[in-house]
Symmetry: C2
Subunit: 237 residues, 2 copies
């Protein structure tokens, strides 16, 4: 029986042997949700980068550039990080460069060692879980967190995956147990639970309540983005 | 209102500004429980060290030496890490050198920057909480974890402290919220909850069930061990 583990922040990734594992990167608000939605809606590829300056390197390559600062689209960029920007009419056939500090860091760190890096969000929860069951390899659920800190929303999603996989995988660490229990506690109303989060005030200030509501929707998408080189593309399985 | 935060493993300690904080080091199974019980029972001081070899440096100083390997007292040492070794008849007036890898690491790291480092365990839960309320300073609850990994038992204790302090402190990070919720879930039967732990099998193999039961008893002690230089001594407050 393969094992499933939960890494609560990228700062703890070095504790996990992932050479033969599929790593699921989780950055619910909002990077991995927007990426899932964009790939679902036909984006050719999404390139995650660490910061706005990195985005500029792709300006002349015909990519769409997505960057936000303090909740506003950066001047001269095509759009921000809201999943609502990633609709088919805007992204189909396009390559998008997306600024996401925590998500990019987690993906790049995992990519250095992992067998495979895929992207998870509530939007493609069951699709990701079914793929993991089918592959039958060890799994690490990697929470991108917030500047290396633990956060609730990424951990809740990890718990949702553990719930779907726990009969087929060995739950191998205490963080998986914690994530599962927190998810069980929160699943009746994820949005209400997250009001307890330290980011709650920050989210209200950013005026992204509609984004948050959307990022907590379950199984709106079937696609699984997979990291190939620097690009996230649709996984064919 | 001062704030309370929970650091889930020593590997995340660098994320917290603790220069003006009281840090409570938590290593429930069994270091901070045994330390609390030993100081309660009149030990003059307890010196935490990283490994058995470090213990030997104190052999000629009239200290009692405590070290275990694989659940057995190391040959030639006075006793192991069981709290039952730290009774008044054995420790009153004595200085004990105690081998504890995770606990020592957490204490030394905290000591480099913190205003004060004290030791917490279920045994002195309310005593620690009352002291923190009285001092009215920022608090960091530092889980010693297991080789830098998150663990359930230390997090549950952190949650128990958050529960006692939450009306007097600002709960400032998501890990405090998680710890509190886990404690609420587990408090009816802490031992049963910990059976889900990844250490559960290890604990059974070590044959320390009586130790575990004792380490989960609440408010058996009034003392608060405080780190002064390399020694833990009773805090006068």
């Amino acid at each position: 029986m393969p094992k499933i583990e939960v890494c609560l922040t990228p700062a703890l990734l070095n504790l996990y042997a992932i050479e033969h594992s599929i790593v699921v990167v989780i950055d619910i608000l909002r990077a991995t949700s927007s990426i899932t939605y964009g790939i679902e809606n036909g984006a050719a590829a999404i390139i995650p980068v660490m910061n706005v300056e990195d985005c500029l390197n792709y300006a002349d390559m015909g990519c769409l550039l997505a960057a936000e600062r303090n909740g506003e689209v950066v001047k001269g960029y095509d759009f921000g990080n809201s999943p609502f920007s990633y609709t088919a009419d805007k992204v189909a056939g396009k390559t998008i460069v997306l600024t996401t500090t925590n998500g990019t860091k987690a993906m790049r760190m995992a990519q250095e060692r992992a067998h495979q890096v895929i992207v998870g969000s509530f939007l493609n929860l069951t699709s990701v879980s079914n793929y993991l069951k089918k592959e039958n390899k060890d799994v690490l659920l990697l929470c991108a967190g917030w500047k290396d800190n633990f956060n609730l929303e990424d951990t809740l999603f990890a718990g949702a995956v553990v719930q779907q996989l726990r009969n087929d995988f060995a739950v191998a660490d205490d963080s998986s147990v914690a994530a599962l229990d927190m998810y069980q506690l929160a699943k009746g109303d994820l949005r209400a639970y997250l009001k307890k989060s330290s980011h709650s005030h920050r989210l209200i200030k950013l005026n992204i309540e509609e984004d948050v509501q959307f990022c907590l929707k379950t199984d709106v998408c079937k696609t699984i983005p997979v990291l190939e080189g620097e690009k996230l593309v649709a996984l064919f399985n």
